[in-house]
Structures are given as C-alpha cells and as structure tokens.
Point group: C2
Chain length 531, copies 2
C-alpha cells in the first residue's frame, strides 16, 4: 500500500546505506556473470540442525506469521499460532459478495458484489522482483495472472487543467517525451551541448532523440503521422475505401507542465511498479488461503493478545478468546515470533528491553482507504477502451483502478473507485461512514467517468485505520525512526523476535513480510541450534 507519488521518502537513509561502500564493485561483479540477481531471496529457506524439541508461539496469522509457522514446523519445531481475526491472511484479504466486515466504530458492511467480482482492500499487486512471494505462490499452487499497471489508454486528470477533461496517458506521455526530445535536439544542433557531449555522441544523440521522441526530419514534434504512431490518432487507420488515418493535435508542453499531470509519468517507470506485475487469479486472498491450507490446523482464531511475557525459560502470552471472553487464556512456548502490527503491539504490555520497546513505539501507521464500486456494465471497456490499469487524478480519490480480469466480458464489473493513502484525504475519508465514503467516491469519480451517474449499483469501503486487527495500513517509517530504531526492532530480544512488513525495508508489501519472517526465523533457529 505504498504512496506512489512520494517515492523518495526513504532516500536519505538509502543513500547512507548505499554509500557504505562497494556498490559499484559489487554490481560489476554481479553483472559480469551476465545476470544480476538483485533479490535477497535465494530460494526456499534451509533450517538445518536439530531444534531439540523447541516450541515456538507465533502471534498473527498474516503472511509473516504463516511463513514462520510453515518453515519452523517443517524444521521440526512445535508451532502454534494465535490470530486476533476470525480468518487467516491478515492484510492479505479479498472482499466478495456476501462477505461482512465490521470496522471500529461499529459500522458493519455487507458486500453486495455479484458473484465472481471482488476487491482486494490490502495488497493487490505483486512485482516480478518479489521473488519470495512468487516462490511461495509456486510452491503453494497459487495461480497468477498479469496485473496491468500501465495502461496507455487510461486517464490522467487534473481538476484545473484541460477544462477538467481527463487526458489519455498515451497523449500526455508521447507529447511530453516528444517535446522534451525536441528541446534537447534543438540545443544539441545549436552547439549548446558541445561541452557536455562529444561530437560523435551528439550525432547519435540526435538519432536517438528522433527515434525515441517521434521527431520529424527537422527534429520537431508536432501533429503528424509520426507523432500519431505514438500518441494515437484522431481517426485511426481503417479498412477499405475512405479509411485513411487522421493524426490528432499535440498538447503543447506548456499546458502539460502547468497541469502537473507529468508527475504521474514516473510511476510506471519505477522499479516497484514496472510491468510485468501479477495478481492471484480470483483475488489476493488466494495466497493467504494457500498458506492456511498448510498451517490452518495450528491457528487459533479469535485470540486477542493482551500481554506478552518472557523469562529465561520461555514465553507466556495472555489472550482473550473472543468467543468466550470471560476467562483470560494463556499460551506458552520456548520462543515467540511476534508479527502483530506495531500499531497494536505498542498498546500491549510486552516484556522486552527498552530499545525494542522504543522501536515498537516509534513507527506510526499510514492511513489508507480503498473503495470498491460495482457498476451495471464495464463501461470503461465498452465506451472508453480502458482495459485494466489505473487512471490518476488530483481529486481526493487519487486513483480509479480497473479490474485486471474478465477483460472484454459482458455484464457487471467492479472497479477500485478510490485508493487514498496518507495525507488529509485519507483521514477525511476514514472519518466518514462507509456509506458516505462510497457516495463521495461516486460523486468525485463521475468527473472522470460520467457513466458513474447511471451505472453505479453498490460499493464497499475499507479505511485501514478502522480495521481492528491492524489499525492502519502499514508501518510508515520516517528516515530518522529507521536510523534510530530499525535494528533494535529486528533484533532478537531474549526469546522474542518480531517480523512483518514493519520489520523490513519493503514496508507495506507482502514481500517485506515474508523476507522479514525468513530473516527472523533464520536468526532464531541459529540461536536455538547453538543453545
């Protein structure tokens, strides 16, 4: 659930890390083999050595907790899991017709989507470089299909630009790149790059700009058949007589600059959001369910942890069985892997040292709201030729994301009518009732798709700060918090180790949760095997 528009929040810290040394040398060593493997995940974990009958209590049946359970049990540990919710998966969650969900504050929603339609309120896409998630999908039999991140025919919308008319991504992308190329080609020809670029390279640069920027023989980007082969046509080429194409007008650079829709163009280029991306067929919860098929037998649901204690001999966790809340329950084990989100863990008494406790308290959780809307027909495909992908807007809904499944089919469809993260918008929507959130998303979205007004049927809205099991969307590390607290958070404290996306450098992503878990249990096992 990362903020696509603020890619640089981790930069200063990363710069520190990158500067530590050797990145160039390491890169060259790797690429000299031809195929740099850039993931820290090197295939299934191997926990060798005897756990000597040790037991592990895992708190939380999200992906981090279930990964730990699966691998530790396989390595010979006695494992049990306590889970607050009545289902496994955690933020790995899919809402379908008939599902109910009660948020903090008491609002209960029943999803009314038609059978087969869904939204993923939590994670919804998997990058190709999330090797651990992909490997578990393969091992656990989760079928994947492409998640279209960049759809050139989706919209970019700025309320105060272009008369409020949404623009096709392809038009903005082509026209921006073309006119940038034209500017650079012109100064190259005028000799203004002579200091920066060698004569030989300048000549190739002009060829490259012409190719890449769709420039004409005079290095100009304008409305003509060359730009039309990139931005598309006013009238596309057809068949038979009278079917010649007509190029469209170019949107001038000044208008694009002032509209600020250029800020969306970097999203599709970012490593995190680069195609090819994936989604599980049928909903993201296919992953949670696949893990639960492996470890469901050792999950105790409806178990709300209220206290975590440890001493030299083991860990004792006090919890409330929500189905029989009168009597507090105890669970004991030699070790504990705690994957409870910090937003909740910070409110539970935990016997850990001051540095870990400070780390637990140091990480605020990002606000995020997702709203699914069902419509009578897939008008975005039928009327506008938008198949999957995302439209971006400066309206408070921020995004409209189109379903990446059931393409070109007739009948109803569900789209993501808002995906709001961080900032006042997310809090404003969180403070509304679900019905108000949905009504507002429909009202705002109609600025982009007027069909909303006649085609809308029903919706469902999840505000993550009101999800009782998470109280937020994901750990929102500041650079300072990470520098001060991250290592303290991840260290084993006595018999307790934490795991989850919050204990990773990939916050808010399932890959972070799984890699964090694998890292934690590897260290835990080392300690057990050595004891």
């Amino acid at each position: 659930m990362p903020n696509e528009l603020e890619p640089y929040s981790r930069r200063d810290l990363l710069a520190l890390i990158g500067a530590v040394s050797g990145s160039a040398a390491m890169y060259h060593a790797m690429t000299s083999l031809g195929f740099a493997s850039d993931s820290g995940y090197k295939g299934p974990i191997k926990l060798e050595g005897d756990p000597k009958g040790a037991s592990v209590l895992i708190l939380g049946a999200g992906l981090a907790g279930m990964t730990a359970a699966l691998e530790l049990r396989k390595a010979g540990y006695k494992v049990q899991i306590l889970e607050f919710n009545s289902r496994a998966g955690g933020r790995n969650w899919t809402l379908r017709g008939g599902d109910t969900f009660t948020e903090l504050g008491g609002f209960k929603q029943t999803c009314e989507f038609e059978q087969g339609l869904y939204i993923n309120p939590g994670p919804w896409r998997i990058p190709y470089h999330h090797r651990a998630v992909l490997d578990y999908c393969k091992r656990l039999g989760v079928t994947l299909e492409p998640f279209v991140q960049l759809n050139h025919n989706a919209f970019l919308h700025a309320t105060n630009a272009f008369g409020g008319t949404p623009q096709r991504i392809r038009d903005i992308k082509s026209d921006f790149q073309g006119q940038i190329s034209e500017l650079l080609a012109k100064v190259t020809q005028q000799g203004k790059l002579d200091e920066a670029v060698s004569k030989e390279d300048r000549e190739i640069l002009l060829q490259a700009l012409k190719s890449w920027g769709a420039l004409d023989g005079d290095y100009a980007y304008k409305a003509n058949p060359i730009s039309a082969e990139f931005r598309g046509y006013a009238t596309s080429p057809g068949g038979g007589l009278g079917a010649g194409p007509i190029p469209g007008e170019v949107i001038n650079l000044s208008d694009i600059l002032k509209s600020r829709v250029w800020r969306y163009l970097q999203i599709f280029a970012r490593h995190t959001f680069q195609d090819t991306m994936f989604q599980p067929v049928g909903g993201m919860d296919a992953i949670g369910k696949a893990f639960a098929r492996e470890v469901g037998d050792i999950i105790q649901y409806n178990a709300k942890v209220t206290r975590i204690q440890q001493d030299d001999h083991g860990v004792t966790v006090t919890y409330t069985n929500l189905k029989a809340p009168a009597t507090p329950q105890l669970a004991k084990a030699d070790w504990c892997v705690c994957t409870i989100p910090l937003s909740i863990l910070s409110q539970i008494p935990v016997d850990v040292g001051a540095s870990m406790k400070a780390a637990i308290d140091a990480v605020p959780y990002a606000a995020s709201v997702k709203i699914g809307l069902q419509f009578k027909r897939r008008f975005w495909e039928e009327d506008e030729a938008i198949y999957g992908g995302i439209s971006y807007t400066d309206l408070p809904i921020l995004q409209i994301a189109y379903p990446n499944t059931g393409f070109n089919s007739t009948g109803r469809g569900v789209l993501l009518g808002a995906y709001i993260f961080g900032g006042p918008n997310a809090y404003e929507f969180t403070s509304m009732s679900p019905a108000e959130r949905i009504a507002r998303a429909v009202e705002l979205g109609a600025n982009i798709h007027p069909q909303y007004r006649t085609e809308f049927e029903n919706g469902v809205a999840v505000a993550w700060h009101r999800v009782p099991y998470t109280l937020g969307c994901a750990g929102n590390w500041t650079e300072k918090a990470r520098a001060d607290h991250y290592d303290n958070l991840c260290q084993i404290d006595g018999r307790i180790v934490l795991a989850g996306e919050h204990a990773s450098y990939i916050p808010a992503w399932q890959e972070g949760a799984i890699l964090s878990s694998l890292n934690a249990i590897t260290r835990l096992h080392d300690r057990v095997a050595k004891t």
Copy 2:
C-alpha cells in the same frame, strides 16, 4: 506481423492524408466531448434492406472471409466459402503438439510440444484499440488475457556492446531517460532554453525533469537510491537485519548511445504496441475457430481457386478439390468477395479491369519467420525473473518472446525463439530447412540465454513465404504503391470486391482484415440493395 523497428514506412502517405484538412478541428470536436473515439469501428455492422435472394461466393476462410460470411448470411444472402487450406482461420493459426505442417518445398514438420504449449505463427497480439477484433471476440465468446508487450526485466542485446552481455530494459530505459533529463535540466539552468521556454515554464520543467528523470537535488542522474528506485538495485531491499538495499551503477549515456539499443525503446511507446494488449486464452486460433463455429457449415475446404470469371449476371469460380483433383469444379454466385492474398491472387486469372489487376500485382509480400522452441523448464522465469514480454537483439533472430500464459508454473515451456521480418535475415532463414532454422535459432539465442544449451528439447519453424496458402506474411505496401493502387484495389469491380489485411490501412493485422471486410460488404450491400 509488422516490423517494429521501421515504424515510419507509411509516413509520407499518411502525411498526405493528414494534410487533407481539418484534423485539428476534428480532434477538438471529438475531445470536447471528453472521450475521443479513435476507431472507425462503431459496433456491429447493420446491413439493412433486402438482398433480394442474392448469393455471394466468398474466397478464403480467413478472418476477412468469415466476417463477410457471417454478416452477409445474417443479412439474408445465400453464402458459400471456398478455402484452399484444410482448416479455417488463414493466418490466424496456432501450432500445438501433434499438429503437422508441410511447407512449399516439401518439408513436413510435426510439432512435438507438450500438451498445452503452443506458438502462434501468425498474429499473436491484439491492441486495445482494435475495436472490431475485440467486439467479435466478445460476440463470439473468445476469452482474452493480457499479452505483455513491455517487460522491464527482459533484455536488450547488442552483439558489439557491453561485452555482448544482455542488458535489462529497465536499466537502459531508466539510464537513458535519466541522462537525457539531466542534459536538458543543465541547459535549462544555464539559461540556454530562455528563448524556447518561458520563465514560468522553465521552473516547472526543472521539477518535471527531476521527477521524470529520477534526478537528484543537483539535477544529476547517478548511482544512488533515487535512480535505483527506477532502474532497480544491485541488491534489493530485504527484510530483517542486514537487508538494506544497494543501488546499481549507472550505464553512461555514451555507452548507451554507441550501443544503439536505444532504438528499441520506441517500440513500447508506439500506439500499435502499447499495453494493454491481449491474446486469446489457449492460442490465437480461438478466434478463427469461433468464426468457424458460426460459418463452418458453408466452408468448402481443400478448394484451390484457379480462375475467377464474371459477366453481367454473376461470378464463376473454377477450383480444384484437392481431395479429388482430377476434375475442375465450378462455383457460381451473383457476387464475389475475394480475400485471397495478393501474393496468390496475382497468379490466378481474374476477370477484373486493368486498374484492379494492376493493383493486385503491385503489392509484394513481406517475408517473415517465426520459430517456437520448447525447453525443459521456464528458465527465463526461474533464473532471470522474466515473465512474458520480449527481449530484443541485433542477432538475426531479432526477438525472443516469452509466453504470456502459465506464469510461474513448473515444467516445460515454449518461447518464441525468433521473429524475423523483412530484410535479408528473413530470406536467409526461409531458405533453410526447418531443422536448420531451429538449430540456428538455438545457437544464436544461447548468446542471450546460455540455458538454451542444456534445456532445449524441440522446435517448430514457420517461414511465411513457404506457406502455400499465403506465400508471404502480409501485404507490404510501399508508399508509392498505395498512392497509385490502393483505391483501385478496394473498389468494387463489376461483381467482385476484394477484402483482407492487404485492402486496409492496417496491413498485417487482423483488425485490418475485419475492417476491410466490413467496408467491402457494406459497399457491396449498398449496390445490391439499390439494384
């Protein structure tokens, strides 16, 4: 089967057409409605009026012929189709294990792919703006899935650059765009754009270049966490302790320019190849088979047309029934829709006027070769995290395309080991035996994927100039030929009208075939209804 690297062959002609007038005015009229519809296809054809018992003989059961048959029969015509091949679909064709294919010259291949694996020797992808193809898929129940055109993690390979090591598309794309942005930002700061860009715009331009080009605070693009969030990492961020990311080195602009791999970057930006693209689930021939479900009952297979005659009363076609070739057969009708490729039609005596005959003879057919290779495992996914999409190389194979289905699965896989179009390479491969083509594709491809050497199992190779039913890949209009002959080709000549991709402005694409057919039968029906 278009040449991705020569986008501009139609430009001069298109410029003529675009200049005819009014494109700006028309564009503005359309976009003022908010949603320009750029396709000439406006939904199912309506052929109103009584055909008065007229009969139509259709030559060719490819998509053009079957579209005509489906719609004309629905409009009340008596329709029959003659087809040279023993199956319907024409170039819409999928090869699977057990399929056999004998090419001109007598080489017979039996495809040995494992069940479920295939290649599409002809068309293999459908753009989102090919509205007619998509509408027929919807009407005829053909299920679609995404065709990944741009995979950022696939390779760009230049034999004489980077020591022959293939480079990730994401690295070249980010590093080229970043350094282009840096150059332009620098001249902007130096005041060298003051004449071309207003002061207000210059300030926004700098912000935009910083965002779009991943520049740092000094407007520099270099190895740091900012560029790493676009190009990817030497070591990606992980989870737990010791898991901080390490950025990779930037490839300098001079090396990218000299390598000429930049020429591939325009492909993904072109309207024709922009994501979202599609493929039918299970193989492209799902479309041909869907049409054949509708009109298969009126197709006569193995019927090789040898003469086409017409007079004031009707059309008479002489053909050979290849199952009983001794006696020439006759077929008669009031009208004829001829979709026979011009490569073959030009060799058949046809009673048409001099201008249409000259047009039929004026269009050479492009050479093209596709080679499917089966491997023991999907090493491109397992070893290199390449899921779908295409790697490009300056080796004669030109492309390696990865399957866009069965992602992340275990077991065997088939990739497209060569897709060669135009130029001497295509003819060189066409002149080889199928076994030689396959061996050469494996030898060359091993430069990009060394795993070829141990994982290859079997292959199949289609050289379109040796396909008896087509004698080439697609109509290869020169600008002059189109200016001189296109309208003459498409006009109704007496009782004969031609259709097919060759009679369209979208040569080599299924959309061209269907739109051409719809245009032709609309005009034919107008004439019949008026008679």
